[in-house]
Amino acid sequence: MASRTTEAPEHPEVAEDITVAQRGHHLSDVKLARAAGISPRHLREVKRGSNVSLRIVKRLMAALQLRSIRLGDVMQGSGSGEGVSPEVLRMIAHAMRQALAPVLELVEMLEAYGEGKSTAQLEAKARELVRDAHQDVTAERDEAQPERERSGATKTKRRPKTAKRR
């Protein structure tokens, strides 16, 4: 059997369209895989022109804002004819992956909850980050104000040091 690396790509058009769009967006493999919510291994398979599930291609298209993608000659057949057809195996693998997809999503969700993530926690942290940024910037501005006053830049009444807001 031919080794994996020497196999001709099965979907070169898909691979090309994804690669070109990725370059257009200046995204690395890791970042694109993360944005699409797929593993980097799957992304490598797509870029190699391998037969991946439609779900993965659609996720990549969404991340890259691709409205359409070339699928190549859909009438062209494949398979070696020696022993079990690789196409049949791929179809089985594809069907299994499709069947497992909801389970895998559930696993991801459970992992997320296991890590202590929840919508409420994400929201609380977001609020905290924005509040901290605001307080930080406000404190710096308030500190800068008496500095300017001491240097005589403005003629307003000086604020005592203890009145600084932090």
């Binding site: 200046h26 919510g37 969404a62 804002q65 994400l122 929201e123 977001a126 609020r127 605001h134």
Partner: protein, 275 residues
């Protein structure tokens, strides 16, 4: 006199097409056919089809036009055009005058929003002025009405470089949403809009101030999506200030986590590009 009835709504092909929550391709085609009708034919049909002069049809069309706004603005414009035609055909005796004017204003507002999305600011401004005229005539005040229209005008002003007026309009709209209508969701949107103008202007400290005010309400509302956008913008603002790289990175990483959690790949890709 022919009166509008729910039976008539069900039996008309147009209301059949637009009655559902979303428009599929064939349903959109039905709307497009109506948009392509010449005026004389339209007037003739409107005489014996109550759906073509009903405020309910206008409301359905406006709803679809808004749905398409961020997805396919050209479709949004076509749907709004049909809404304008139907709103103009409303009859006294079938619809209260003030409500009819309000519907006409809303239809023009939907049209203005579509044109703004397509960056046709010249025609968008004309549509805004027409909508304002109908709102003034109607004297009915609703959150989705005049203050929302002000936000569209503010966007047009901001795009044409008059950021000062844009900010003032958007800030007034935010205050109105909160004080008069208690519409906190729209208030957050208006404040976020202000923050984005300030970011574009590189007025980072003011932007963070506006973002903090928006975040306060979004958090109370439990608006996760808006909070993700706000924390992402805060990251940009901190990056812009220059000496707060760690805080900026913290905000951006958290925004990435939130977009991942929400399953928003487009926003995620945009954010990852900047990290």
């Amino acid at each position: 006199m022919v009166r509008w009835s729910s039976n008539a709504k069900r039996t008309d092909p147009l209301t059949d097409a637009i009655g559902g929550p979303f428009l599929n391709d064939s349903e959109y085609d039905a709307v497009l056919q109506m948009a392509l009708l010449p005026d004389t034919e339209w007037t003739r049909q409107a005489q014996f089809r109550p759906a073509l002069r009903s405020p309910i049809t206008v409301a359905d069309l406006i709803r679809h036009s808004r749905w398409f706004l961020g997805r396919d603005p050209q479709k949004s414009i076509v749907i709004a055009e049909v809404a304008i035609r139907i709103a103009a055909a409303q009859r006294e005796g079938e619809t209260v005058r003030a409500e009819a004017d309000h519907k006409r204003a809303e239809a023009w507002q939907a049209y203005a929003a579509g044109l703004t999305e397509c960056q046709d600011y010249h025609d968008a401004l004309k549509a805004v002025v027409t909508a304002e005229r109908f709102y003034d005539a109607s004297r009915v005040m609703r959150a989705e009405g005049r203050p929302s229209l002000d936000l569209i005008r503010a966007r047009i002003l901001a795009e044409s470089g008059d950021t000062r007026s844009a900010l003032q309009l958007a800030e007034n709209a935010a205050t109105l949403f909160l004080s008069l209508f208690e519409d906190r969701t729209r208030c957050v949107m208006a404040r976020f809009f202000c923050a984005n103008i300030l970011l574009k202007e590189e007025r980072y400290q003011e932007a963070i101030n506006a973002l903090d005010r928006a975040a306060e309400i979004a958090y109370e509302q439990g608006d996760t999506e808006m909070l993700a956008h706000i924390v992402a913008s805060t990251g940009y603002a901190l990056q812009g200030i220059g000496n707060r790289h760690e805080r900026a990175r913290g905000c951006q990483e958290h925004a990435i986590e939130m977009f991942e959690w929400l399953g928003m790949p487009v926003e995620l890709a945009v954010l990852l590009k900047g990290v």
